[in-house]
Amino acid sequence: MRVTRDLADQLDNAHRAFATRIADLGLAASLDLDARPAAGDLCLVRVTRLGQHRHVELVSGRRAALAVGDELIVAFGNRYASDQFEALIPPSLAECHLVAAGGIASMAVSQHSKMKAPTDIQPLGILRDASGVALNLSRWGWPGVATPANAPAQPHMILVVGTSMNAGKTTLCANVIRTLRECGLRTAALKLTGTGSGGDLWKYQDSGALEAMDFGNVGLASTAGMDIRVLDAAIGRLCAAVSPQADVIVAELADGILQRETSQLLQQSNLRARAGSILFAASDPLGAAAGVQLLASWGLDVSAVGGLMTASPLAVREFTSFCNAPVIYAAEASAQETSTYFFSPANGQSGKKHAAQR
Protein backbone atom coordinates (compact mmCIF):
# COMPACT_ATOMS: atom_id res chain seq x y z
CA MET A 1 0.00 0.00 0.00
CA ARG A 2 1.32 3.42 -0.92
CA VAL A 3 0.32 6.28 1.37
CA THR A 4 -0.01 9.58 -0.46
CA ARG A 5 0.50 12.67 1.70
CA ASP A 6 -1.11 14.95 -0.84
CA LEU A 7 -4.03 12.68 -1.63
CA ALA A 8 -6.62 15.13 -0.39
CA ASP A 9 -5.26 17.83 -2.72
CA GLN A 10 -5.08 15.36 -5.56
CA LEU A 11 -8.71 14.37 -5.06
CA ASP A 12 -9.78 18.01 -4.75
CA ASN A 13 -8.20 18.77 -8.09
CA ALA A 14 -9.72 15.77 -9.84
CA HIS A 15 -13.06 15.76 -11.66
CA ARG A 16 -15.42 13.82 -9.44
CA ALA A 17 -17.80 11.82 -11.63
CA PHE A 18 -21.55 11.61 -11.05
CA ALA A 19 -21.46 7.86 -10.39
CA THR A 20 -19.46 8.50 -7.20
CA ARG A 21 -21.90 11.04 -5.79
CA ILE A 22 -22.96 9.15 -2.67
CA ALA A 23 -19.40 8.49 -1.43
CA ASP A 24 -17.70 10.36 1.39
CA LEU A 25 -14.27 11.04 -0.07
CA GLY A 26 -13.14 12.42 3.25
CA LEU A 27 -12.51 8.83 4.25
CA ALA A 28 -9.89 8.37 1.53
CA ALA A 29 -6.48 7.90 3.12
CA SER A 30 -4.48 6.11 0.48
CA LEU A 31 -4.34 4.68 -3.00
CA ASP A 32 -3.79 1.03 -3.81
CA LEU A 33 -2.37 0.17 -7.20
CA ASP A 34 -2.18 -3.56 -6.60
CA ALA A 35 -5.83 -4.31 -5.92
CA ARG A 36 -8.09 -6.31 -8.16
CA PRO A 37 -10.96 -3.93 -8.91
CA ALA A 38 -14.49 -4.83 -7.90
CA ALA A 39 -17.82 -3.34 -8.92
CA GLY A 40 -18.34 -0.07 -7.11
CA ASP A 41 -14.71 0.49 -6.12
CA LEU A 42 -13.73 4.14 -6.29
CA CYS A 43 -10.63 4.83 -8.34
CA LEU A 44 -8.52 7.82 -9.19
CA VAL A 45 -7.65 7.69 -12.89
CA ARG A 46 -5.80 9.82 -15.42
CA VAL A 47 -6.99 10.39 -18.98
CA THR A 48 -4.32 9.11 -21.39
CA ARG A 49 -6.16 9.38 -24.71
CA LEU A 50 -9.43 10.96 -25.69
CA GLY A 51 -11.88 8.77 -27.51
CA GLN A 52 -15.68 8.56 -27.56
CA HIS A 53 -16.20 10.24 -24.21
CA ARG A 54 -14.70 13.71 -24.24
CA HIS A 55 -16.72 14.88 -21.27
CA VAL A 56 -17.39 13.55 -17.82
CA GLU A 57 -20.58 14.29 -15.92
CA LEU A 58 -19.80 15.80 -12.54
CA VAL A 59 -21.75 15.31 -9.34
CA SER A 60 -23.44 18.64 -10.03
CA GLY A 61 -24.59 17.40 -13.42
CA ARG A 62 -22.26 19.71 -15.34
CA ARG A 63 -20.49 18.04 -18.25
CA ALA A 64 -16.84 18.84 -17.82
CA ALA A 65 -14.66 18.79 -20.95
CA LEU A 66 -11.77 16.36 -20.68
CA ALA A 67 -8.16 16.71 -21.75
CA VAL A 68 -5.31 14.24 -21.71
CA GLY A 69 -3.71 14.36 -18.28
CA ASP A 70 -6.94 15.21 -16.42
CA GLU A 71 -7.52 13.18 -13.29
CA LEU A 72 -10.96 11.78 -12.50
CA ILE A 73 -12.58 10.02 -9.59
CA VAL A 74 -14.67 7.22 -11.08
CA ALA A 75 -16.16 3.89 -10.08
CA PHE A 76 -15.53 0.46 -11.54
CA GLY A 77 -18.50 -1.23 -13.13
CA ASN A 78 -19.68 -3.36 -16.02
CA ARG A 79 -21.53 -1.72 -18.87
CA TYR A 80 -24.21 -3.09 -21.19
CA ALA A 81 -25.19 -0.55 -23.82
CA SER A 82 -26.05 -1.93 -27.23
CA ASP A 83 -25.76 1.51 -28.85
CA GLN A 84 -22.44 2.23 -27.15
CA PHE A 85 -20.14 -0.14 -25.29
CA GLU A 86 -20.14 -3.55 -23.74
CA ALA A 87 -17.54 -3.51 -20.99
CA LEU A 88 -16.35 -5.71 -18.15
CA ILE A 89 -14.50 -4.87 -14.97
CA PRO A 90 -10.83 -5.64 -15.69
CA PRO A 91 -8.86 -8.08 -13.52
CA SER A 92 -6.17 -5.53 -12.66
CA LEU A 93 -5.44 -1.82 -12.55
CA ALA A 94 -3.82 -1.81 -15.95
CA GLU A 95 -4.94 0.84 -18.44
CA CYS A 96 -8.67 0.58 -19.20
CA HIS A 97 -11.52 2.73 -20.50
CA LEU A 98 -13.95 5.39 -19.51
CA VAL A 99 -17.05 3.61 -20.83
CA ALA A 100 -19.74 6.00 -19.61
CA ALA A 101 -19.77 9.75 -19.14
CA GLY A 102 -21.21 9.30 -15.66
CA GLY A 103 -17.79 8.02 -14.62
CA ILE A 104 -17.56 4.26 -15.11
CA ALA A 105 -14.13 2.65 -15.44
CA SER A 106 -14.13 -0.67 -17.24
CA MET A 107 -12.66 -2.59 -20.15
CA ALA A 108 -14.61 -2.29 -23.40
CA VAL A 109 -14.99 -5.66 -25.11
CA SER A 110 -17.34 -4.64 -27.91
CA GLN A 111 -18.84 -1.47 -29.26
CA HIS A 112 -21.44 -0.14 -31.65
CA SER A 113 -19.94 0.60 -35.05
CA LYS A 114 -20.89 4.26 -34.76
CA MET A 115 -18.83 4.65 -31.60
CA LYS A 116 -15.29 5.93 -31.63
CA ALA A 117 -12.77 3.97 -29.61
CA PRO A 118 -13.35 4.47 -25.89
CA THR A 119 -11.40 7.07 -23.97
CA ASP A 120 -8.32 5.49 -22.37
CA ILE A 121 -7.70 5.97 -18.66
CA GLN A 122 -4.83 4.91 -16.44
CA PRO A 123 -5.87 3.88 -12.92
CA LEU A 124 -3.75 5.65 -10.30
CA GLY A 125 -5.11 3.55 -7.48
CA ILE A 126 -8.25 2.44 -5.73
CA LEU A 127 -9.18 4.71 -2.84
CA ARG A 128 -8.79 3.15 0.60
CA ASP A 129 -9.69 4.30 4.06
CA ALA A 130 -7.33 4.60 7.01
CA SER A 131 -7.79 0.89 7.74
CA GLY A 132 -6.78 -0.07 4.25
CA VAL A 133 -10.29 -1.06 3.21
CA ALA A 134 -11.28 -0.14 -0.33
CA LEU A 135 -13.83 2.63 -0.65
CA ASN A 136 -16.75 1.03 -2.43
CA LEU A 137 -20.09 2.65 -3.23
CA SER A 138 -21.89 -0.11 -1.38
CA ARG A 139 -20.60 1.44 1.86
CA TRP A 140 -22.99 4.38 1.38
CA GLY A 141 -25.89 2.59 -0.23
CA TRP A 142 -29.05 2.65 1.82
CA PRO A 143 -29.30 -0.45 3.97
CA GLY A 144 -32.07 -2.91 3.42
CA VAL A 145 -35.28 -2.26 5.29
CA ALA A 146 -37.50 -5.21 6.07
CA THR A 147 -41.07 -4.35 5.15
CA PRO A 148 -43.48 -5.39 7.90
CA ALA A 149 -46.59 -7.23 6.81
CA ASN A 150 -48.85 -4.42 7.99
CA ALA A 151 -46.84 -1.69 6.28
CA PRO A 152 -48.84 0.86 4.32
CA ALA A 153 -49.28 -0.07 0.69
CA GLN A 154 -46.60 1.44 -1.54
CA PRO A 155 -47.73 3.91 -4.16
CA HIS A 156 -48.78 2.43 -7.47
CA MET A 157 -45.71 1.71 -9.62
CA ILE A 158 -45.89 2.39 -13.34
CA LEU A 159 -43.04 0.32 -14.79
CA VAL A 160 -41.60 1.47 -18.10
CA VAL A 161 -39.73 -1.06 -20.24
CA GLY A 162 -38.86 -1.12 -23.91
CA THR A 163 -37.45 -2.78 -26.97
CA SER A 164 -33.90 -1.57 -26.48
CA MET A 165 -31.62 1.26 -25.50
CA ASN A 166 -32.84 4.52 -27.10
CA ALA A 167 -36.38 3.27 -27.68
CA GLY A 168 -37.82 6.32 -25.91
CA LYS A 169 -38.27 4.89 -22.42
CA THR A 170 -36.96 7.91 -20.53
CA THR A 171 -38.95 10.32 -22.67
CA LEU A 172 -42.04 8.21 -22.03
CA CYS A 173 -41.29 8.35 -18.29
CA ALA A 174 -40.93 12.12 -18.53
CA ASN A 175 -44.26 12.44 -20.32
CA VAL A 176 -45.95 10.24 -17.74
CA ILE A 177 -44.49 12.32 -14.91
CA ARG A 178 -45.70 15.54 -16.56
CA THR A 179 -49.15 14.11 -17.09
CA LEU A 180 -49.40 12.95 -13.51
CA ARG A 181 -48.28 16.35 -12.32
CA GLU A 182 -51.09 17.91 -14.33
CA CYS A 183 -53.39 15.48 -12.56
CA GLY A 184 -52.27 16.91 -9.24
CA LEU A 185 -50.08 13.98 -8.22
CA ARG A 186 -46.51 13.78 -6.97
CA THR A 187 -44.24 11.25 -8.59
CA ALA A 188 -41.16 9.43 -7.39
CA ALA A 189 -39.10 8.56 -10.45
CA LEU A 190 -36.74 5.59 -10.24
CA LYS A 191 -34.16 4.32 -12.71
CA LEU A 192 -33.92 0.74 -11.53
CA THR A 193 -31.13 -0.57 -13.74
CA GLY A 194 -28.45 0.71 -16.09
CA THR A 195 -25.14 2.53 -15.87
CA GLY A 196 -24.43 5.39 -13.48
CA SER A 197 -25.38 8.65 -15.13
CA GLY A 198 -27.36 11.70 -14.20
CA GLY A 199 -29.01 12.31 -17.56
CA ASP A 200 -32.17 10.34 -16.90
CA LEU A 201 -32.48 11.62 -13.35
CA TRP A 202 -32.22 15.23 -14.50
CA LYS A 203 -34.88 14.55 -17.11
CA TYR A 204 -37.19 13.09 -14.47
CA GLN A 205 -36.63 16.12 -12.28
CA ASP A 206 -37.16 18.55 -15.15
CA SER A 207 -40.49 16.84 -15.80
CA GLY A 208 -41.66 17.62 -12.30
CA ALA A 209 -40.83 14.50 -10.33
CA LEU A 210 -40.97 14.97 -6.57
CA GLU A 211 -37.74 12.98 -6.37
CA ALA A 212 -35.50 11.11 -8.78
CA MET A 213 -33.29 8.22 -7.68
CA ASP A 214 -31.44 5.34 -9.24
CA PHE A 215 -29.42 2.27 -8.32
CA GLY A 216 -26.56 4.62 -7.49
CA ASN A 217 -28.48 5.63 -4.38
CA VAL A 218 -28.27 2.06 -3.11
CA GLY A 219 -24.56 1.79 -3.77
CA LEU A 220 -24.31 0.46 -7.30
CA ALA A 221 -22.19 1.92 -10.08
CA SER A 222 -24.02 -0.11 -12.70
CA THR A 223 -26.28 -3.15 -12.73
CA ALA A 224 -24.99 -5.06 -15.77
CA GLY A 225 -24.04 -8.63 -14.96
CA MET A 226 -25.39 -8.56 -11.41
CA ASP A 227 -26.88 -11.57 -9.70
CA ILE A 228 -30.62 -11.19 -10.10
CA ARG A 229 -31.40 -11.80 -6.43
CA VAL A 230 -28.93 -9.14 -5.34
CA LEU A 231 -30.31 -6.73 -7.90
CA ASP A 232 -33.91 -7.46 -6.88
CA ALA A 233 -33.01 -6.77 -3.25
CA ALA A 234 -31.33 -3.50 -4.23
CA ILE A 235 -34.49 -2.48 -6.09
CA GLY A 236 -36.47 -3.30 -2.96
CA ARG A 237 -34.23 -0.97 -0.95
CA LEU A 238 -34.69 1.77 -3.53
CA CYS A 239 -38.47 1.40 -3.41
CA ALA A 240 -38.42 1.45 0.38
CA ALA A 241 -36.67 4.81 0.24
CA VAL A 242 -39.42 6.48 -1.77
CA SER A 243 -40.77 9.56 -0.05
CA PRO A 244 -44.07 9.07 1.78
CA GLN A 245 -45.17 12.21 -0.04
CA ALA A 246 -45.09 10.41 -3.39
CA ASP A 247 -48.45 9.45 -4.87
CA VAL A 248 -47.15 7.32 -7.74
CA ILE A 249 -43.83 5.67 -8.63
CA VAL A 250 -42.63 5.81 -12.22
CA ALA A 251 -39.82 3.26 -12.63
CA GLU A 252 -37.67 2.56 -15.67
CA LEU A 253 -35.74 -0.58 -16.53
CA ALA A 254 -32.79 0.03 -18.84
CA ASP A 255 -32.17 -1.59 -22.21
CA GLY A 256 -34.61 -3.94 -23.90
CA ILE A 257 -36.66 -6.70 -22.37
CA LEU A 258 -34.38 -9.32 -23.92
CA GLN A 259 -31.39 -7.97 -21.99
CA ARG A 260 -30.31 -10.43 -19.30
CA GLU A 261 -31.13 -8.57 -16.09
CA THR A 262 -34.23 -6.86 -17.49
CA SER A 263 -35.56 -10.17 -18.74
CA GLN A 264 -34.88 -11.92 -15.44
CA LEU A 265 -36.43 -9.15 -13.38
CA LEU A 266 -39.57 -9.27 -15.47
CA GLN A 267 -39.84 -13.03 -15.28
CA GLN A 268 -38.82 -13.90 -11.75
CA SER A 269 -38.48 -11.20 -9.15
CA ASN A 270 -40.33 -9.22 -6.53
CA LEU A 271 -40.49 -6.42 -9.06
CA ARG A 272 -43.31 -8.30 -10.79
CA ALA A 273 -45.49 -7.86 -7.74
CA ARG A 274 -44.42 -4.26 -7.23
CA ALA A 275 -45.37 -3.20 -10.75
CA GLY A 276 -48.97 -2.05 -10.79
CA SER A 277 -48.96 -1.42 -14.51
CA ILE A 278 -46.52 -1.60 -17.40
CA LEU A 279 -45.88 0.79 -20.25
CA PHE A 280 -43.85 -0.36 -23.23
CA ALA A 281 -41.60 1.95 -25.28
CA ALA A 282 -40.85 0.74 -28.78
CA SER A 283 -38.86 2.13 -31.63
CA ASP A 284 -40.93 0.46 -34.34
CA PRO A 285 -44.24 -1.40 -34.83
CA LEU A 286 -42.79 -4.88 -35.00
CA GLY A 287 -40.81 -4.30 -31.83
CA ALA A 288 -43.94 -2.99 -30.14
CA ALA A 289 -46.07 -5.96 -31.16
CA ALA A 290 -43.39 -8.48 -30.28
CA GLY A 291 -42.75 -6.81 -26.94
CA VAL A 292 -46.43 -6.81 -25.99
CA GLN A 293 -46.65 -10.47 -26.96
CA LEU A 294 -43.46 -11.50 -25.13
CA LEU A 295 -44.52 -9.73 -21.96
CA ALA A 296 -47.93 -11.40 -22.19
CA SER A 297 -46.16 -14.76 -22.41
CA TRP A 298 -44.47 -13.83 -19.13
CA GLY A 299 -47.86 -13.07 -17.59
CA LEU A 300 -47.49 -9.30 -17.85
CA ASP A 301 -50.08 -7.22 -19.67
CA VAL A 302 -48.96 -3.95 -21.18
CA SER A 303 -51.24 -1.08 -20.24
CA ALA A 304 -50.14 1.09 -23.16
CA VAL A 305 -47.39 1.50 -25.73
CA GLY A 306 -45.30 4.62 -26.36
CA GLY A 307 -41.78 5.50 -27.35
CA LEU A 308 -40.08 6.42 -30.60
CA MET A 309 -42.66 4.60 -32.68
CA THR A 310 -45.26 7.22 -31.82
CA ALA A 311 -43.29 9.86 -33.73
CA SER A 312 -44.69 8.26 -36.88
CA PRO A 313 -48.47 8.13 -37.37
CA LEU A 314 -47.91 5.56 -40.09
CA ALA A 315 -45.91 3.33 -37.76
CA VAL A 316 -48.63 3.66 -35.12
CA ARG A 317 -51.26 2.68 -37.70
CA GLU A 318 -49.18 -0.32 -38.64
CA PHE A 319 -49.00 -1.36 -35.01
CA THR A 320 -52.67 -0.81 -34.23
CA SER A 321 -53.71 -2.81 -37.29
CA PHE A 322 -52.15 -5.80 -35.63
CA CYS A 323 -52.34 -5.19 -31.89
CA ASN A 324 -55.02 -3.39 -29.92
CA ALA A 325 -52.92 -2.23 -26.99
CA PRO A 326 -53.54 1.49 -26.44
CA VAL A 327 -50.92 3.86 -27.82
CA ILE A 328 -49.90 6.97 -25.94
CA TYR A 329 -49.29 9.90 -28.24
CA ALA A 330 -47.17 12.88 -27.30
CA ALA A 331 -50.11 15.27 -27.61
CA GLU A 332 -53.26 13.47 -26.57
CA ALA A 333 -56.54 14.43 -25.02
CA SER A 334 -56.52 16.02 -21.58
CA ALA A 335 -54.01 14.83 -19.02
CA GLN A 336 -56.88 13.51 -16.93
CA GLU A 337 -58.09 11.26 -19.73
CA THR A 338 -54.60 10.29 -20.88
CA SER A 339 -53.75 9.18 -17.36
CA THR A 340 -56.21 6.30 -17.62
CA TYR A 341 -53.76 4.63 -19.97
CA PHE A 342 -51.19 4.37 -17.19
CA PHE A 343 -53.36 2.33 -14.85
CA SER A 344 -54.87 -0.45 -16.90
CA PRO A 345 -54.51 -3.82 -15.24
CA ALA A 346 -51.16 -5.58 -15.44
CA ASN A 347 -49.84 -8.75 -13.84
CA GLY A 348 -51.90 -11.01 -16.04
CA GLN A 349 -55.17 -9.14 -15.55
CA SER A 350 -56.21 -8.48 -19.11
CA GLY A 351 -57.81 -5.15 -19.71
CA LYS A 352 -59.91 -3.70 -22.42
CA LYS A 353 -57.48 -2.75 -25.12
CA HIS A 354 -57.96 -0.42 -28.00
CA ALA A 355 -56.04 2.03 -30.06
CA ALA A 356 -56.14 5.45 -28.49
CA GLN A 357 -57.39 7.44 -31.45
CA ARG A 358 -58.00 10.62 -29.54
Partner: protein
Amino acid sequence: MLRSAEIIPMRDPAQPVPICGLRAHQSLGAELDYFAYIPRTATMDSPLLITVHGIERMALQHAVRFSKLAEKHSFIVVAPIFSKARVPRYQRLERGPLGDCPIAAFELAVDHVQRATGLASVPLRLFGYSGGAQFAMRYTLAGSLPVGRLALAAPGWFTMPNTQQPFPYGLGESPALEGRAVDLARLLSIPVLLTVGAEDTRRDKSLNREAIVESSQGKTRLERAHRWYDAMTGLAKARGLPQMTQLKLLEGAGHDFDDNMQTFGLGEIVTDWLIN
Protein backbone atom coordinates in the same frame (compact mmCIF):
# COMPACT_ATOMS: atom_id res chain seq x y z
CA MET B 1 -53.34 -13.70 -30.47
CA LEU B 2 -52.91 -10.24 -29.03
CA ARG B 3 -56.45 -9.02 -28.81
CA SER B 4 -57.91 -9.35 -25.35
CA ALA B 5 -61.26 -9.39 -23.64
CA GLU B 6 -63.76 -6.58 -23.73
CA ILE B 7 -64.40 -6.28 -20.01
CA ILE B 8 -61.84 -5.74 -17.29
CA PRO B 9 -61.99 -8.81 -15.06
CA MET B 10 -60.90 -7.07 -11.89
CA ARG B 11 -62.00 -10.16 -10.07
CA ASP B 12 -59.81 -13.20 -10.50
CA PRO B 13 -62.17 -16.15 -10.06
CA ALA B 14 -59.44 -17.96 -8.14
CA GLN B 15 -59.25 -15.22 -5.53
CA PRO B 16 -61.81 -14.30 -2.89
CA VAL B 17 -61.49 -10.56 -3.37
CA PRO B 18 -60.88 -8.34 -6.39
CA ILE B 19 -57.32 -7.67 -7.49
CA CYS B 20 -56.06 -4.84 -5.31
CA GLY B 21 -54.45 -1.59 -6.30
CA LEU B 22 -55.17 1.33 -8.55
CA ARG B 23 -56.84 0.49 -11.83
CA ALA B 24 -58.35 2.39 -14.72
CA HIS B 25 -61.20 1.43 -16.95
CA GLN B 26 -61.25 2.92 -20.42
CA SER B 27 -64.45 3.05 -22.37
CA LEU B 28 -64.96 3.26 -26.08
CA GLY B 29 -68.66 3.82 -25.77
CA ALA B 30 -71.26 5.69 -23.80
CA GLU B 31 -70.05 4.83 -20.31
CA LEU B 32 -67.53 6.88 -18.39
CA ASP B 33 -63.87 6.04 -17.96
CA TYR B 34 -63.10 5.62 -14.29
CA PHE B 35 -60.33 4.95 -11.80
CA ALA B 36 -60.84 2.36 -9.12
CA TYR B 37 -58.79 1.71 -6.03
CA ILE B 38 -59.21 -1.68 -4.41
CA PRO B 39 -57.44 -1.99 -1.05
CA ARG B 40 -55.54 -5.06 0.07
CA THR B 41 -58.06 -5.39 2.85
CA ALA B 42 -61.03 -5.63 0.47
CA THR B 43 -63.54 -8.43 0.74
CA MET B 44 -66.60 -9.18 -1.32
CA ASP B 45 -68.58 -7.31 1.33
CA SER B 46 -66.53 -4.13 1.06
CA PRO B 47 -68.58 -1.00 0.46
CA LEU B 48 -68.03 1.16 -2.57
CA LEU B 49 -67.47 4.91 -2.42
CA ILE B 50 -68.00 6.90 -5.62
CA THR B 51 -66.18 10.21 -5.73
CA VAL B 52 -67.02 12.73 -8.44
CA HIS B 53 -64.49 15.34 -9.55
CA GLY B 54 -64.99 19.05 -10.11
CA ILE B 55 -64.73 20.84 -13.44
CA GLU B 56 -60.93 20.40 -13.50
CA ARG B 57 -61.68 16.69 -13.73
CA MET B 58 -59.03 15.48 -11.26
CA ALA B 59 -60.48 11.98 -11.03
CA LEU B 60 -57.10 10.33 -10.59
CA GLN B 61 -56.29 12.66 -7.72
CA HIS B 62 -59.62 11.77 -6.12
CA ALA B 63 -58.85 8.04 -6.37
CA VAL B 64 -55.35 8.44 -4.95
CA ARG B 65 -56.35 10.76 -2.14
CA PHE B 66 -58.99 8.30 -0.94
CA SER B 67 -56.72 5.27 -1.37
CA LYS B 68 -55.08 5.37 2.07
CA LEU B 69 -58.46 5.73 3.73
CA ALA B 70 -59.69 2.86 1.60
CA GLU B 71 -56.86 0.69 2.93
CA LYS B 72 -57.68 1.68 6.49
CA HIS B 73 -61.46 1.23 6.27
CA SER B 74 -61.67 -1.52 3.60
CA PHE B 75 -63.77 0.24 1.00
CA ILE B 76 -63.43 0.45 -2.76
CA VAL B 77 -62.99 3.84 -4.41
CA VAL B 78 -64.44 4.60 -7.80
CA ALA B 79 -63.64 7.93 -9.45
CA PRO B 80 -65.38 8.41 -12.80
CA ILE B 81 -64.14 10.90 -15.37
CA PHE B 82 -66.64 13.09 -17.15
CA SER B 83 -64.95 13.90 -20.45
CA LYS B 84 -64.61 17.62 -21.01
CA ALA B 85 -65.19 17.13 -24.72
CA ARG B 86 -68.20 14.84 -24.42
CA VAL B 87 -70.04 16.13 -21.36
CA PRO B 88 -68.68 19.63 -20.67
CA ARG B 89 -71.62 20.56 -18.39
CA TYR B 90 -72.02 17.23 -16.63
CA GLN B 91 -72.59 19.03 -13.31
CA ARG B 92 -75.87 20.38 -14.66
CA LEU B 93 -76.78 16.92 -16.01
CA GLU B 94 -76.74 18.43 -19.51
CA ARG B 95 -76.17 16.37 -22.60
CA GLY B 96 -72.90 17.03 -24.43
CA PRO B 97 -72.49 18.36 -27.97
CA LEU B 98 -72.60 14.84 -29.41
CA GLY B 99 -75.68 13.90 -27.43
CA ASP B 100 -73.92 12.10 -24.56
CA CYS B 101 -76.03 11.99 -21.42
CA PRO B 102 -74.01 12.31 -18.18
CA ILE B 103 -76.65 10.45 -16.17
CA ALA B 104 -76.71 7.48 -18.53
CA ALA B 105 -72.92 7.43 -18.86
CA PHE B 106 -72.56 7.49 -15.08
CA GLU B 107 -75.05 4.67 -14.61
CA LEU B 108 -73.36 2.53 -17.24
CA ALA B 109 -70.05 3.05 -15.45
CA VAL B 110 -71.60 2.02 -12.13
CA ASP B 111 -73.00 -1.05 -13.83
CA HIS B 112 -69.55 -1.83 -15.20
CA VAL B 113 -68.02 -1.54 -11.74
CA GLN B 114 -70.62 -3.94 -10.44
CA ARG B 115 -69.94 -6.47 -13.18
CA ALA B 116 -66.16 -6.10 -12.99
CA THR B 117 -65.83 -6.40 -9.22
CA GLY B 118 -68.87 -8.37 -8.22
CA LEU B 119 -69.46 -5.83 -5.45
CA ALA B 120 -72.81 -4.37 -4.60
CA SER B 121 -72.85 -0.79 -5.84
CA VAL B 122 -76.34 0.34 -4.82
CA PRO B 123 -77.61 2.13 -2.90
CA LEU B 124 -74.83 4.51 -3.87
CA ARG B 125 -72.51 6.10 -1.35
CA LEU B 126 -71.86 9.22 -3.35
CA PHE B 127 -69.40 12.05 -2.82
CA GLY B 128 -68.81 15.04 -5.03
CA TYR B 129 -66.42 17.95 -4.83
CA SER B 130 -67.24 21.38 -6.26
CA GLY B 131 -68.75 20.68 -9.70
CA GLY B 132 -68.82 17.03 -8.67
CA ALA B 133 -70.97 17.96 -5.67
CA GLN B 134 -73.40 19.66 -8.03
CA PHE B 135 -73.58 16.50 -10.11
CA ALA B 136 -74.04 14.31 -7.03
CA MET B 137 -76.82 16.49 -5.67
CA ARG B 138 -78.67 16.69 -9.00
CA TYR B 139 -78.14 13.00 -9.69
CA THR B 140 -79.79 12.24 -6.35
CA LEU B 141 -82.76 14.33 -7.46
CA ALA B 142 -83.06 13.06 -11.02
CA GLY B 143 -81.01 9.88 -11.47
CA SER B 144 -82.31 6.34 -11.68
CA LEU B 145 -80.08 4.55 -9.18
CA PRO B 146 -80.90 4.91 -5.48
CA VAL B 147 -78.48 6.99 -3.42
CA GLY B 148 -78.10 5.77 0.15
CA ARG B 149 -75.81 8.41 1.58
CA LEU B 150 -74.58 11.64 0.08
CA ALA B 151 -71.64 13.91 0.83
CA LEU B 152 -71.31 17.24 -0.93
CA ALA B 153 -68.22 19.39 -0.63
CA ALA B 154 -67.95 23.00 -1.76
CA PRO B 155 -70.43 23.08 -4.61
CA GLY B 156 -70.33 26.39 -6.46
CA TRP B 157 -74.10 26.62 -6.51
CA PHE B 158 -77.15 24.53 -5.81
CA THR B 159 -80.46 23.34 -7.12
CA MET B 160 -82.65 25.10 -4.62
CA PRO B 161 -85.61 23.20 -3.18
CA ASN B 162 -88.31 25.35 -4.78
CA THR B 163 -90.40 24.99 -7.91
CA GLN B 164 -90.37 28.68 -8.81
CA GLN B 165 -87.03 28.38 -10.58
CA PRO B 166 -86.47 26.01 -13.48
CA PHE B 167 -84.08 23.12 -13.12
CA PRO B 168 -81.12 23.14 -12.51
CA TYR B 169 -81.56 26.40 -10.50
CA GLY B 170 -84.66 25.04 -8.80
CA LEU B 171 -87.02 22.14 -9.17
CA GLY B 172 -89.31 23.69 -11.76
CA GLU B 173 -90.01 22.29 -15.18
CA SER B 174 -87.17 22.60 -17.67
CA PRO B 175 -86.30 21.14 -21.06
CA ALA B 176 -82.96 20.17 -19.48
CA LEU B 177 -84.76 17.45 -17.54
CA GLU B 178 -85.89 15.72 -20.74
CA GLY B 179 -88.99 14.55 -18.95
CA ARG B 180 -87.17 13.11 -15.93
CA ALA B 181 -88.91 13.48 -12.60
CA VAL B 182 -87.13 15.47 -9.90
CA ASP B 183 -87.58 13.72 -6.59
CA LEU B 184 -87.03 16.14 -3.73
CA ALA B 185 -88.43 13.64 -1.25
CA ARG B 186 -85.52 11.37 -2.04
CA LEU B 187 -83.00 14.08 -1.21
CA LEU B 188 -84.85 14.90 2.01
CA SER B 189 -84.97 11.28 3.08
CA ILE B 190 -81.28 10.33 2.95
CA PRO B 191 -78.38 11.46 5.12
CA VAL B 192 -76.70 14.39 3.36
CA LEU B 193 -73.52 16.02 4.56
CA LEU B 194 -72.61 19.40 3.12
CA THR B 195 -69.10 20.66 3.80
CA VAL B 196 -67.54 23.91 2.74
CA GLY B 197 -64.35 25.72 3.65
CA ALA B 198 -64.91 28.58 6.06
CA GLU B 199 -62.53 30.55 3.84
CA ASP B 200 -64.11 29.46 0.56
CA THR B 201 -65.22 32.98 -0.22
CA ARG B 202 -63.18 33.81 -3.33
CA ARG B 203 -65.22 34.73 -6.36
CA ASP B 204 -62.90 33.03 -8.81
CA LYS B 205 -63.59 32.71 -12.52
CA SER B 206 -64.98 29.20 -12.11
CA LEU B 207 -67.73 30.43 -9.81
CA ASN B 208 -71.19 30.79 -11.35
CA ARG B 209 -72.09 34.50 -11.38
CA GLU B 210 -75.44 34.31 -13.11
CA ALA B 211 -77.92 36.78 -11.71
CA ILE B 212 -80.46 34.04 -11.02
CA VAL B 213 -77.91 32.28 -8.81
CA GLU B 214 -76.54 35.35 -7.05
CA SER B 215 -79.97 36.72 -6.22
CA SER B 216 -81.32 33.53 -4.68
CA GLN B 217 -78.18 31.85 -3.33
CA GLY B 218 -75.62 34.56 -2.59
CA LYS B 219 -72.23 35.50 -3.92
CA THR B 220 -69.78 32.97 -2.48
CA ARG B 221 -69.71 29.21 -2.01
CA LEU B 222 -69.84 29.70 1.73
CA GLU B 223 -72.90 31.93 1.57
CA ARG B 224 -74.61 29.62 -0.93
CA ALA B 225 -73.97 26.59 1.27
CA HIS B 226 -75.67 28.30 4.18
CA ARG B 227 -78.64 29.33 2.03
CA TRP B 228 -79.17 25.81 0.70
CA TYR B 229 -78.73 24.22 4.10
CA ASP B 230 -81.26 26.64 5.61
CA ALA B 231 -83.71 25.92 2.78
CA MET B 232 -83.36 22.14 3.16
CA THR B 233 -83.67 22.09 6.91
CA GLY B 234 -86.55 24.57 6.80
CA LEU B 235 -88.35 22.41 4.30
CA ALA B 236 -87.82 19.26 6.37
CA LYS B 237 -89.17 21.04 9.43
CA ALA B 238 -92.20 22.36 7.56
CA ARG B 239 -92.97 18.84 6.36
CA GLY B 240 -92.41 17.32 9.78
CA LEU B 241 -89.50 15.25 8.54
CA PRO B 242 -86.39 14.36 10.52
CA GLN B 243 -83.37 16.55 9.80
CA MET B 244 -81.21 14.46 7.47
CA THR B 245 -79.02 17.28 6.15
CA GLN B 246 -75.97 18.45 8.04
CA LEU B 247 -73.63 21.34 7.37
CA LYS B 248 -69.99 21.23 8.41
CA LEU B 249 -67.63 24.15 7.97
CA LEU B 250 -63.94 23.36 7.53
CA GLU B 251 -62.21 26.05 9.53
CA GLY B 252 -59.36 27.65 7.59
CA ALA B 253 -60.10 25.80 4.35
CA GLY B 254 -60.43 27.45 0.97
CA HIS B 255 -61.51 25.79 -2.27
CA ASP B 256 -58.48 23.67 -3.19
CA PHE B 257 -59.42 19.97 -3.24
CA ASP B 258 -55.94 18.74 -2.35
CA ASP B 259 -55.70 21.17 0.57
CA ASN B 260 -59.13 20.14 1.80
CA MET B 261 -58.14 16.47 1.66
CA GLN B 262 -54.58 16.67 2.94
CA THR B 263 -54.72 19.54 5.40
CA PHE B 264 -58.32 19.89 6.52
CA GLY B 265 -59.34 16.25 6.87
CA LEU B 266 -62.07 16.23 4.25
CA GLY B 267 -61.31 12.61 3.30
CA GLU B 268 -61.76 11.41 6.87
CA ILE B 269 -64.99 13.39 7.26
CA VAL B 270 -66.43 12.00 4.03
CA THR B 271 -65.31 8.45 4.85
CA ASP B 272 -66.86 8.70 8.27
CA TRP B 273 -70.13 9.92 6.75
CA LEU B 274 -70.41 7.50 3.85
CA ILE B 275 -68.71 4.34 5.13
CA ASN B 276 -68.45 4.11 8.88
